[in-house]
Amino acid sequence: MLQIDCPWCGMREEMEFSYGGQAHVAYPKDPHAVSDEDWAQYLFMRDNPKGLFLERWVHSQGCRRWFNVERHTVTHEITAVYKPGEPPPAAKP
């Protein structure tokens, strides 16, 4: 039962959120220029690390905003929360 710090609403219960999978999966600039294999990478292939993971959540029952979370997939500890467009924690200076 996670408690997630919505960047707008603050700490709220997991029940109010929906999960959006891996963050920063870029839509190919020109989908028609990529191979079927690379398109499959975009469509289906995902990182699935045991450890820190950058992932998306949406505060679906609250402010309905999407945002990114850095969370440990074993301890479930949340180490960062940031808005779309902001750089992931590791990329921060």
Partner: protein, 1005 residues
């Protein structure tokens, strides 16, 4: 029956029971009496009843081993009829007037159980025996062995009728959550409470005090129990403190989320608190947690250590001091540590029935030995109990020196055992926290945890009262400190209490002798030391394997008294140190939780919202039969008296094509899309183009997932240059909105677009059929409904039936059709007006079934019926709606080899050659009668399946839509519906059955 006469085992003047309030109760049909403050267990013991249960496998006689939640033996079926509840622990049931309990899993009764015969076969029924047999002859497993095994299994019985009780739920946030109101928990709570932080204290027992209730103590010059009640009173008076008794924390989840169940009325008896929820499930979100859950005493394994009358020392002390119950006239204690030794003496001080303490240690604490002498208790050091004897109750024990041999038999009627302490690490471990084995104390202790939690008291190996109190206060201070309060947390106290324990897990192993009798580790599951050794011999050497092979710790007590002993025996057999073997995983719940309590108030009409439209009341009044579409109730059809589904639908469908029909279309999703980039946005999410759509016009759109499969469809209208109203299918309304937001917010933040759901702002009434225009004219005399002024696929705003409305000329059935939208508060009034206005024109209300028939006659798909997540727009004949020019979500996927493949399943129409044959939806089709069944070499003969199938009164024939391989190339061919009784020939057709030219939708001007 007089109270005192029955309570033969009551100790005069002892205990905290209320002797002025006798309570009558029934056990196994016998009428008995106890007192307010008793548990069922203490009342039974007071009546001299020790034999209360039978074990799971061997049906051995069993009595109370403990006085608390760790009880493995004393399981009862409480109450009868709808209130009955299986497998409750007698040690946890508070006595109430009229209580009615009986033993579980014995036949014909607990005194004489025929299944005890299993005990004779016990040499065969060892751990895992069933894996090795019952395999021959093959058919016997299903018919003979398995039913017999199953019949023997199980403990109590489930009720056979629904539960008359209700349950409740509560969410609660706090700064500090303290679990356990023993001395440690109370002193931590006082720290927190007095500081004013939001504090919750949760205690499983009916009152505060923990071990203070179980043994005599003095704190600050007053009796321990008095200190506890004062502490409770002080805390309970604080507005920042919530003190919950009879509440068990059963799960420790992520981010300091703890679950507890409060037993609110069980102690009052069934049916006595009308309207009050029997149990309440608490959801706690705590900034900080203090666990002060105490410790469980554990037994020692010796021969026949399961006989009734053999109890833990702590239990004996509790029965004496708290309940004033003596366990017999002549007791012996078998202890290997100072704590148990002291408990035996405390019992003696009250009950005066302990003759001897048997201790394997050479050197029990001097002071204790002196006290024993003073209390008239003999102490026998360097000795153990080897085997107990008795029939349904212990009657003697064999005593044996730890070195050397020679058994001495000692008569006794009860035995106190203490093999050491297991701190109650369950919740800590769930957190999840790591444990560490302390060899001096011979127990596992909390070590490190990823959550912000403090441990205190016996859980933290502070076994003496003074240090538990101090430790609790320190834990409280540390917690406050981390909450930012100006509190000196102090240095953590270094010294732990000494237990002076000589670990003896199993007497046999200790002595290196084979002793008679059965040597139980897990009482409830009848797991013996021999079973564990067998498991180890057969290669089940991981503690997890041993657990699963022998079932140690898997019974309803989850091994609270047995797990550590089991793993110690395993470790010894492997020659490994205990920490290397480790524990099994502690899992929620800490103690079992009633399903009903977990379901809480989500029952019946509250189990899931039932969503209805503003017109619902009219539908109900007019006899609609409803269909569930997601959470919505939609009218399925409106039968007239005597009509079934088919008759009603035939009538409705006919009306819709010959006169007029009216349908409640409110549930369709509606999304208001605004912003300068709205058209561009639609271009990206829909497969077709939107830029050129004129204001005032509508267009059908399909949206795909990125993998190219159809996701949803609907008609979208352009309200203004920068504003569209999108409709979605009923079932996908929420999903589509989320989908749009996801793309907007995460992928295309540069687009100036806002989406707002308006599904429930508008009530939608669809008026359909040749007479629709007449009806609309009657309703809206000021509006021009001519084809020229109000063409197909446009909308107009105007006044309809005196109400401001938006009217869309769109059609999901090929007929002239208007969808009138009014603010939902006018929905019912408009509907009524439409019905009135329609009367002269044969207007017939219809439901979703008729809608389905009518749209299928036109070959229109329904998302989720013609599509199933594996279907592209091209597959269902929507290539006309797929833009070749622009890009959109999913387009790239169309060119993948399988998606672009010829011969994919495609949407077709089907006409049965027998016009009356309505193929069941979901039926499959085969290409020829010769190949119509499964052939192991060729596989399935199916070429596709029927997605929709109805009888059409308009076609005077049944007809269907289907997805079949290469379907578009098969028009005119015969295929066979493979269904139940045989093969039915059907002709493949175009999916449009009616009005291919599309003339009807314009009606007659």
């Amino acid at each position: 029956m007089s109270g005192t006469a029955a309570n033969i085992a009551r100790i005069e003047g002892a205990g905290k029971i209320d002797r002025t309030r006798p309570l009558a109760f029934t056990f196994n049909g016998r009428k008995l009496q106890g007192y307010a403050g008793d548990t069922l267990a203490s009342a039974l013991l007071a009546n001299g009843i020790h034999l209360v249960a039978r074990s799971f496998k061997y049906h051995r006689p069993r009595g109370m081993l403990t006085a608390g939640n760790e009880e493995p033996n004393a399981l009862v079926q409480l109450e009868r009829g709808p209130y009955t509840e299986p497998n409750l622990r007698a040690t946890e049931i508070e006595l109430y007037e009229g209580l009615d309990a009986s033993s579980v899993n014995c036949f014909p009764n607990v005194q004489f159980d025929l299944r005890a015969i299993n005990g004779l076969a016990s040499s065969i029924l060892v751990a895992g025996f069933y894996n090795k047999t019952f395999m021959w002859p093959k058919g016997f497993w299903k018919k003979v062995y398995e039913p017999a095994l199953r019949a023997a299994a199980g403990l109590g019985v489930a009720p056979d009728s629904p539960d008359p009780d209700t349950y409740d739920r509560m969410h609660w946030h706090c700064d500090v959550l303290v679990v356990g109101a023993g001395p440690a928990g109370l002193s931590a709570s006082l720290q927190a409470g007095r500081r004013g932080v939001r504090t919750v204290i949760v205690e499983e027992a009916p009152e505060a005090g923990g071990s203070l209730l179980q043994r005599p103590a003095t704190i600050d010059g007053v009796a321990g129990t008095e200190w506890a009640s004062k502490a409770f009173a002080e805390l309970d008076a604080m507005p920042n403190v919530l003190f919950l008794c009879r509440t068990s924390v059963f799960g420790y989840y992520d981010h300091n989320y703890l679950m507890a169940v409060e037993h609110r009325t069980d102690h009052l008896g069934p049916g006595r608190s009308p309207g009050v929820a029997r149990k309440r499930l608490w959801h706690f979100r705590a900034k900080r947690v203090v666990l002060a859950t105490g410790a469980h005493e554990r037994p020692i394994v010796f021969g026949n250590n399961d006989l009734p009358g053999i109890v833990l020392a702590n239990a004996a002390c509790t029965y004496a001091t708290r309940y004033g119950v003596s366990l017999g006239k002549c007791g012996v204690a078998f202890v290997n540590n100072d704590h148990g030794f002291a408990l035996a003496l405390e019992t003696q001080a009250v009950a005066r029935n302990i003759a001897m303490i048997i201790d394997p240690r050479p050197d029990p604490d001097d002071a204790l030995v002196k006290r024993a002498a003073a209390l008239g208790v003999r102490v026998l050091c360097n000795s153990v109990i080897a085997t107990a004897h008795g029939w349904n109750r212990v009657s003697s024990v064999d005593i044996c020196p730890t070195r050397g041999t020679g058994l001495a038999r000692l008569e006794c009627d009860h035995v106190l055992v203490s093999g050491g302490l297991n701190p109650a690490v369950h919740l800590y471990s769930q957190a999840p926290g790591k444990l560490r084995y302390d060899a001096n104390l011979a127990c596992f202790l909390p070590d490190q945890c990823i959550q912000t939690v403090e441990v205190a008291g016996a859980l933290n190996a502070r076994f003496s009262l003074d240090s538990a109190l101090e430790d609790g206060a320190l834990a409280g201070k540390r917690t406050l400190h981390t909450l930012g309060q100006a509190v000196d947390a102090g240095a953590p106290a270094e010294a732990k209490d000494e237990l002076h324990i000589l670990p003896v897990w199993s007497v046999q192993a200790q002595l290196g002798l084979k002793l008679p009798g059965k040597h139980f580790v897990d009482y409830q599951n009848d797991v013996t030391e021999a079973d564990i050794l067998l498991a180890s011999r057969e290669g089940f050497r991981s503690v997890e394997h041993t657990k699963r092979y022998t079932t140690t710790g898997m019974a309803t007590d989850q091994g609270k008294t047995s797990n550590v002993i089991g793993l110690a025996i395993l470790a010894a057999s492997l020659g490994k140190p205990i920490p290397e073997v480790g524990t099994t995983t502690f899992r929620p719940p800490f103690t079992p939780v009633t399903f009903g309590a977990i379901a809480g108030r989500d029952r019946g009409s509250l189990s899931d919202p039932v969503r209805t439209t503003p017109m619902h009341a009219w539908h109900v009044d007019n006899g609609a039969v409803f269909e569930d579409v997601g959470q919505w109730k939609r009218p399925w059809y409106f039968p007239k008296p005597g009509e079934d589904l088919h008759a009603a639908v035939a009538r409705e469908t006919k009306a819709l094509r010959t006169t007029a029909g009216v349908m409640d279309a409110t549930t369709l999703g509606k999304i208001d899309i605004q912003g300068a980039d709205a058209a561009e946005f639609l271009n990206r999410v829909y497969t077709n183009a939107w830029t050129k759509l004129a204001v005032g016009s509508c267009r059908y759109g399909v949206m795909c997932r990125p993998d190219g499969m159809v996701m949803d469809d609907g008609v979208t209208a352009r309200l203004a240059d920068d504003r569209f109203l999108m409709t979605t299918t009923t079932g996908n309304a929420a999903r589509v909105l989320d989908w749009l937001e996801e793309w907007l917010q995460t992928e295309w933040p540069e687009l100036e677009v806002y989406c707002t759901t308006v599904t429930e702002q508008w009530a939608t009434t669809a008026v359909v059929g040749p007479n629709a225009r007449k009806i609309l004219k009657a309703l809206a005399p000021d509006m021009d409904f001519s084809n020229a002024a109000f063409p197909f696929m446009t909308f107009r705003e105007g006044v309809v039936a005196g109400l401001a409305a938006r009217v869309f000329r769109i059609s999901f059935n090929g007929e002239l059709s208007y969808e009138i939208n009014v603010p939902s508060w006018h929905g019912l009034a408009l509907w009524r007006a439409v019905i009135e206005a329609g009367k002269p024109h044969g207007l017939t209300p219809y439901g979703t079934e008729t809608m389905h028939v009518a749209r299928a006659e036109k070959g229109y798909i329904i998302i989720g019926q013609e599509t199933d997540g594996t279907v592209t727009p091209q597959d269902v004949g929507l290539e006309w709606a797929v833009s070749k020019q622009k890009d959109f979500i999913g387009k790239r996927s169309f060119s993948r080899s399988d998606t672009a493949r010829a011969g994919r399943k495609q949407l077709v129409g089907l006409l049965p050659q027998d016009k009356a044959f309505v193929a069941p939806e979901g039926s499959h089709l085969v290409a020829s009668p010769e190949r119509s069944t499964f052939d192991p070499r060729l596989g399935s003969p199916s070429i596709g399946h029927i997605t929709s199938s109805y009888y059409s009164p308009n076609l005077e024939s049944a007809f269907a839509l289907a997805l079949i391989a290469n379907g578009r190339a098969m028009h005119g061919k015969t295929v066979y519906c493979s269904q139940g009784s045989g093969l039915k020939p059907m002709t493949v057709t175009d999916p449009v059955f009616i009005d291919k030219e599309g003339k009807r939708r314009d009606g007659i001007d």
